[in-house]
């Protein structure tokens, strides 16, 4: 039914060049000098083959905020960036806090067909932090939810957080925490420090993140549960995670591409493209999160792709929405910040952008090795070119990228999702698997 592909000469995770035969949605053969009559040949000479990227932290905005993004447009943006699976955060309207909503999202993702859309369930009803949502019902639903988060809102009440951590053990779930003490960040607009002092913008202190992470790792240790820390952004947070892992706490942590590259200095022009939560931090924080990702303290890169319509950004900084789109630029930014600097190999990139996020989210058909018999979800990436990032690179419904006009290396040449082409020779297809 699906097309048969013979990928010639791809460098497996940046290593040796091999051929990969894709047939029936799986890697039928991986090896040298393969041949197959009738196969479509993809010349991958010089391209890096990575397992399809997995984003543990995406906002798809549907249902409820379709002016910003839909499951279809967000899926397309993901495929364009080399992703084959995205985890959809629950801050939709209605909030994804019931089996009904997560099943609807799953179905929308299946219909779109560009990537696997795996819903994340809210921890508390309406993300209000008061009562646990029906976590078990979401886990048992067709969406098989394993990741729960009130993202955008911290599960601030320590008792609710403890209960949530304990409860999801029943179905091997994980709580993904947006670590932000609400009282310490009332009205916060940007990182608190030298730049906020000058700009007169209310500060978002590092301690508001670090104190919640410290509390949560101690809670996770106490009840023996699995904790995931979303978009960690400060040097202090890296230290706390490092300390917790040494103690044996079952914690994983993520960093966004923008926190690997951009600093709070960018707020100086009051250009709300650079407004995001958690905010861009100092140069020393950027160094620390890079080192943390390089030494394994930070487990994964996740985009926190957060689409907003133009009017939510074309206004005064304090009135502007937080968030940046990031799916299309993620791999290129990671190359710039981590690979070209020698901090990560391509094998490491496969680990932090595919294997580990799939494992944290318990997705079995993603992040799998590029070996015979495994699902054919992969990306072929050309690390050589450097181009100016522009709106033409964006395929979602919103264009609030902080990288517009910036030089970024790399280009996604091919994306295959379960053996179906979504990006062919650098072009995002209108329909998965249909090339004209």
């Amino acid at each position: 039914m699906t097309e048969v592909f013979l990928i010639r000469g791809a460098r497996l995770e940046g290593g040796d060049a091999v051929d990969l035969l894709v047939e029936g949605g799986v890697l039928a053969e991986v090896g040298r000098s393969l041949s197959r009559t009738g196969a479509t040949v993809i010349d991958a000479d010089g391209l890096v083959a990575l397992p399809g990227l997995v984003d543990l932290h995406t906002h798809l905005r549907e249902p409820g905020y379709e002016a910003s993004e839909t499951v279809l447009t967000g899926s397309r943006a993901a495929a364009a960036g080399g992703f084959t699976a995205v985890f959809a955060m629950p801050n939709t309207s209605p909030v994804a806090d019931t089996a009904g909503v997560v099943e609807q999202e799953l179905a929308l993702g299946e219909t779109a067909g560009f990537v696997t859309v795996q819903p994340i369930g809210a921890v508390t009803v309406g993300q209000k932090g008061e009562r646990l949502a029906e976590l078990g019902a979401m886990a048992d639903s067709r969406a098989r939810v394993r990741v729960f988060s009130d993202d955008g809102f911290c599960v601030w009440d320590p008792l609710i957080m403890r209960r949530a951590l304990e409860y999801v053990k029943a179905f091997d779930g994980v709580i993904a925490q947006h670590a932000q003490d609400p009282r310490l960040t009332e009205g916060a607009q940007m990182n608190e420090g030298a730049v906020s002092a000058e700009l007169g913008l209310a500060g978002w202190p590092a301690v508001a993140e670090e104190s919640i992470i410290a509390r949560d790792v101690l809670l996770a240790e106490h009840v023996g549960s699995r904790l995931h820390v979303c978009h960690l952004s400060t040097a202090g947070s890296v230290d706390i995670i490092r300390w917790a892992k040494r103690r044996g706490v079952n914690v994983t942590a993520e960093v966004t591409p923008h926190h690997l590259l951009l600093t709070d200095e960018l707020a100086r022009g009051y250009d709300a493209s650079f407004k995001v939560n958690p905010p861009l931090r100092r140069e020393e924080d950027v160094r620390a999160v890079r080192e943390g990702l390089a030494d394994g303290t930070i487990d994964i890169v996740a985009t926190d792709h957060a689409p907003h319509p133009a009017e939510a950004k074309a206004c005064e900084w304090p009135a502007a929405a937080n968030g940046m789109v990031g799916l299309e630029s993620a791999l290129r930014v990671v190359q710039l910040a981590m690979v070209d600097t020698g901090l990560l190999s391509w094998g490491d990139v496969a680990r932090v952008m595919s294997r580990t996020p799939a494992r944290i989210g318990r997705l079995t058909r993603h992040g799998t090795p590029l070996t015979a018999g495994q699902p054919a979800s992969l990306v072929l990436y050309d690390a050589a070119p450097t181009r100016t990032f522009s709106k033409a690179d964006l395929h979602g419904r919103s264009v609030n990228s902080p990288y517009l006009g910036r030089e970024l290396p790399g280009e996604v040449r091919w994306t295959l999702h379960d053996g179906v082409v979504t990006v062919a020779d650098g072009t995002l297809l209108d329909e998965p698997g249909v090339r004209t």
Binding site: Q189, E192, G193, A194, S196, A197, E198, L199, G200, L201, A202, G203, P205, G269, Y270, E311, A314, C315, E316, W317, P318, A319
Partner: protein
């Protein structure tokens, strides 16, 4: 000068030019007929998203004395929560042919957004943005310090060696920020005095000394002591315990007034909370420059509008300057 958005990036020469033109403007204000024809046919819009009668009428007086047409646009409330966006407001003013927009906004950075967005071609004057800057206030303060210090010999001088101490809520003060940068550019030594809760968390990059004790600061014999207005709602956010405690520790009472050196001046941007940050004795003493600041504010704003509008696109020449003299 295309815009006046902040004093942080105002060069010394440009600051001195504004102050010297303001001296010319002040001279004209001694005449029986105060009105000059300089900006006839130009339209100045006062775009105020926050109530500030004092600042608005100061700009209005400045523009009218230069014969500009003045439109007052009061747009209370933030753009997102209530009605029209800043973009739509700006484009409306552009369509009406505004030559300069004087903007007061509760959001830090709103004047820069207005000036850099491409929505308007008018020059933008920041009349106070959130807790960021209030550049004309700092310019009128510097003008006042210079005038008190050097009198008729003020033109061309900077403030080298002058010691200025600013007291109060530095964290939320756009007046303090604009003064810190401008006074430093002009060579003054700046000391900040505040409760530790009301100093920004990291001021290591500021060219200032920070003290928590007002008496220590006064013992250092400042030439100018600038008292900032304290907002009582700060009390509820735990910045300080009570009004009385604030007044005792950081208020300029009669005892501290008496401890100041003979020729030092007491400044306040207004409106004052008498009995809180400043006592009646201090406010009404001969050291007080409060009313001079108001008068000088008009001259400084005339200078700014003149340099923005008459000076634009190389039109300014000495004959025109002659008008103002």
């Amino acid at each position: 000068m295309r815009h006046l958005l902040e004093t942080k990036n105002l060069a010394r020469a440009d600051a001195l030019e504004i102050l010297d033109v303001a001296e010319d403007m002040a001279d004209t204000q001694q005449r029986e007929v105060k009105k000059l024809p300089t900006l006839r046919g130009k339209t100045v819009v006062n775009l105020f998203f926050e109530d500030s009668t004092r600042t608005r009428i100061s700009f209005e007086a400045a523009a009218k004395r230069l014969s500009a047409d003045v439109l007052n646009f009061s747009a209370k409330g933030s753009s997102v929560s209530k009605g029209e966006s800043l973009q739509d407001t700006a484009q409306t003013l552009q369509a009406m042919g505004a030559d300069a927009v004087v903007i007061r906004h509760g959001a830090s950075g709103a004047p820069r957004t207005l000036a850099t967005s491409g929505w308007i071609t008018a020059g933008v004057v920041n009349a106070g943005d959130g807790t960021h800057e209030h550049p004309t206030q700092a310019l009128l303060d510097a003008f006042t310090i210079r005038k008190r210090t050097y009198g008729a010999d003020s033109r061309g001088r900077d403030l080298t060696g002058v010691k200025v101490t600013i007291v109060g809520d530095i964290l939320h003060s756009r007046v303090a920020r604009s003064n810190v940068w401008l006074l430093n550019t002009l060579g003054a030594q700046v000391t900040l005095v505040a409760p530790p809760t009301l100093v920004p968390q990291d001021v290591s990059a500021w060219p200032v000394r920070v003290l928590f004790d007002l008496d220590d600061a006064i013992a250092d014999e400042p030439d100018a002591l600038m008292m900032l207005r304290i907002q009582l709602e700060r009390m509820n956010a735990a910045y300080f315990p009570t009004e009385r405690e604030y007044s005792r520790r950081w208020g300029l009472d009669a005892r501290r007034l008496a401890a100041l050196t003979a020729d030092s001046m007491v400044m306040h941007p207004g409106p004052m909370n008498r009995g809180l940050e400043i006592s009646a004795e201090a406010a009404d003493s001969t050291r007080s420059t409060v009313l001079d600041q108001v008068t000088n504010g008009v001259s400084v704003r005339m200078a700014v509008l003149y340099l923005l509008l008459a000076g634009e696109r190389g039109e300014r020449n000495h004959d025109e300057r002659g008008d103002a003299r």
